[in-house]
Amino acid sequence: MYSVMQGACDPALVALCAALVIGSGGIPGLFLQNKPGAGQILSAAATILAALAGVPASLLLLFSRTTTTYVLEWGLPFGPCEFVIDPLSAFFLLPVFLVSAAGSLFAVGYWPAAGHRATEPWLTFFYGILSSSMAILLVARNGIYFIMVWEVMALSAYFLLVTEHEREEVRRAGIVYLIATHVGTAALFVYFSLLAAATGSFLLPAAGSLSALAPHATLIALAAFIGFGAKAGIMPLHLWLPSAHANAPSHVSALMSGVMLKMGLYGIFRTLTFFQDPPLLWGIILTLSGITSALLGILFAVSQRDLKRLLACSSIENIGIITTGLGVALMGASSHTPVLMYLGMAGALIHILNHSFFKPLLFLGSGAIIHAVGTREMNQMGGLGKGMPRVALLVLVGSVAICGIPPLNGFVGEFLLYLSFFLELKSDNLVYLVFLAPLLALVGGLAVIAFTKLYSSVFLGTPRTPAAAHPHEAGWTMLVPMAFFGALCLLIGVVPQLVLRLVTPAVASFFPLMPLDTMPAEYGSLLGRLSLAGVLLLSAAALVALLWRWRLGKAPVTSAATWGCGYQRGTARMQYGGSSFSELAVSVFNGIMRQRVERPTLTGLFPGEARCRDHPSETLLERVVAPLFSLAGLSFAFLRRLQHGQMHVYMVYIFATLFILMLWAH
């Protein structure tokens, strides 16, 4: 297969062309405004075809462990523009192609051009630009070019996010996102300047070419952590994430959460490859911030009542788990423990891939739900499983997978991470790493609470509102992408050896000096045992089901109303809703997450009508960051005089700046 494709064309070129096709897929739609839908279908077809070419190309590049370099002479004064595809880039390309193709098909049913004449062409256009900019970002090796593509990515995500800008909430989320992403970009300016100062050119340094002991090294790492961490949503740089993901159209949320967050992680991964022998402290910082993000992220998720906010908070959790794995791998590299490095890195990369399967599945599912019910409030849903059984089944697969429960894919990455925590117990070196295991177990337990809450308050029980009573099943364009991700979740869960083989080249390219020896084979066979246990579990379930069916056939089966403990006038509103389900857990962790409850005061024997409201609060954003920003806004008010909307004066500014710079350069 490899030689065939090699003979026909270069896989790296195929991947690059696929990225360009995805980027231009939305352009025809801008000119076909009088034929609604044609542009959207054209773009979906182009994106899917590009992904069909791009995914095998990336896989080939990954398995052949080749590094391909293209140089573009662009005449700008920042040196030549290099595109390099190495196994790490090829690995990150996989989710970009898969999620963007699935999302563009989903959009045909979810955001049909017929119903959204004004917004659809631009949505489709920026969706393509976002997907393609992420793919190009992964291969860009010139700092200036990287930051240009980075800005294209950040801004196209902003335009996608504010699609429904007539709503106040969406505009607010957009502003918060814009500020957060530019704080990150500012850190990246510092980062690339420091890198250029260290290497003498804007080309990104080769793996292992910088010393971590140089004075600039810590600053470079810190700038990368802030700049890329803000995009990835590592705590405390996560503030923009919940509202942005909740307010974007669902297939955009899927792309943002499934792939764009990973671009931040890619930046951190890439930066760490530059350094030889990273100090232990870097690993410790990454591990601590990772496990904190995981724990607090999932705690926030438990208390949410908005379906998409819950999913967004759980993205913070998953990014935290991935960062923990990276930190562990880094600690392994600094303490020269290859097995720790291998397991931490493989766990992190597998979790990246897994998260880019189950999170888009859940976000697309939330799109189908919102499409059917018209609200994001989980307390107003219920009983949707009867009207939309296929969506319900697929969301169930996603929910079980994201909790990290066997036999689905979420368990695989976490399993390797747990192993890496336990492995140091035998030696006296880094033995405290093992305390991460109970913390990760707690994260897993909280994830079960969050996702049983999500699944049951949306799909189970009886409908709580008339809108939820008659949902319609999603069309095939929406179901096929979800089913695709669901099948991947099951496949990786049952045959985890495959995905380990997939990440091994990327791990090897991360630490080129570290010998992997027999580790891939050894842990591959261990995952084989896990796969056996998964098959055993599925067959045990099938056996019990058959037994039960046989017994059911022997005796009469009747149906009746749910047992109401003798109460005759039960209503749907009396069910345990999402908020009541999580209330107990929220009260246990009250010190960390706060739920604001406005309780009415009831007086007298027959109190009048009263209302009780509760909503999760974002203490850090509301109490600390927002006041700081309004303070900054007040103190820099005088600068606003420069901003008056007169084009010719702006051009004078540009000219004056250039002139001063020229004088300074001389």
């Binding site: 492995l423 079960v448 609470i449 246990a533 047992w563 246990v588």
Partner: protein, 302 residues
């Protein structure tokens, strides 16, 4: 091979007997004769013969609950060693699978309960979710301590290598661990003081209220799965508390069976002499168990 067959045979046949022994012990404390030891078997057999009533609110998720609960407990039974005998399936990291299998069972049991749309069953599953989430870290601290003491990463290695000798040099740590794990054993299996399987007030129940709407064969499967879970967690616990082995396979099976029955008697005694805790106290006790287990871990890795 013979040992594996005996292992599977015991896992299939013995669990309901523990419930019978617990019931008999409680009856003895109350001065009653009590139901026969084999009563749980009769109950399950009779339930399997009965017809079924499904609530009109429920969907297939409700039917999946008992199936997944039993399947996960059965696979977990294959991972844990019984007494000094290694388990049929054992590999590095199987303890993590063991812990997560219960999470899978719990996910579906809770979903099945919430599928009925009854607020009582919702209450039960909210409690189950929170309490078992708090119990999770305790189990992991126990696994860490055992892994450190035995130098092994699989349940079989951990539990069969920590023999009487470990008590000499890590006695304090094991004692703390036994305290923590006994609390978790009672909480995970919904025994007094956490939950009263025989209470008659739905408002105060945890596990029993979650399965309120299951009837006939489904309820039989649930009863059996619950006893299997008690058996599986109990086998983990007695290997900590009573790590006796002769080295001879046949007496070792005898020791295992007697230890399990002894455990059932102890649970029966606890249930007889204690009252159920107020629900607000339950999280406090679970956190205390975690701290005990964390202490034991600190003692062995210092």
């Amino acid at each position: 091979m013979t040992n594996s067959i005996i292992h599977i045979f015991l896992a299939l046949v013995m669990p309901p007997l523990l419930l019978g022994v617990i019931g008999k012990t409680k009856a003895a404390f109350a001065g009653r004769v009590g139901a026969p030891f084999l009563q749980p078997y009769y109950d399950i057999y009779r339930l399997l013969q009965k017809g079924t009533v499904f609530s009109t609110t429920t969907s297939w998720v409700f039917r999946a609950g008992p199936i997944v609960a039993l399947a996960t407990a059965a696979v977990a039974a294959l991972l844990v060693p019984f007494g000094a005998h290694p388990s049929p399936i054992s590999f590095d990291g199987d303890m993590i699978l063991y812990a997560y299998l219960f999470a899978l069972g719990r996910f579906f049991t809770m979903a099945a309960a919430l599928d009925t749309g009854s607020s009582f069953e919702g209450m039960g599953s909210a409690r189950e979710a929170t309490y078992s989430c708090l119990a999770e870290p305790t189990l992991f601290f126990a696994l860490i301590t055992l892994s450190r003491l035995s130098g092994s990463y699989s349940l079989t290695g951990m539990l069969t290598n920590v023999s009487g000798g470990a008590w000499l040099y890590a006695g304090a740590s094991l004692l703390l661990l036994i305290g923590g794990m006994f609390i978790v054993l009672l909480a995970e299996n919904c025994r007094i003081p956490f939950d009263d399987p025989n209470t008659h007030l739905e408002l105060t129940m945890i596990h029993e209220v979650m399965v309120l709407d299951h009837s006939g064969p489904a309820f039989g499967i649930i009863q059996y799965a619950a006893s299997l879970k008690l058996f599986v967690l109990g086998a983990f616990f007695i290997q900590l508390a009573l790590p006796f082995a002769t080295g001879n396979p046949i007496p070792d099976w005898g020791i295992f069976i007697i230890s399990m029955l002894l455990l059932a008697v102890v649970i029966g005694i606890v249930e007889s002499v204690m009252a159920r805790l107020r629900l607000v106290r339950v999280p406090q006790l679970l956190v205390a168990a975690t701290i005990l287990a964390a202490f034991s871990t600190l003692l062995v890795i210092r």
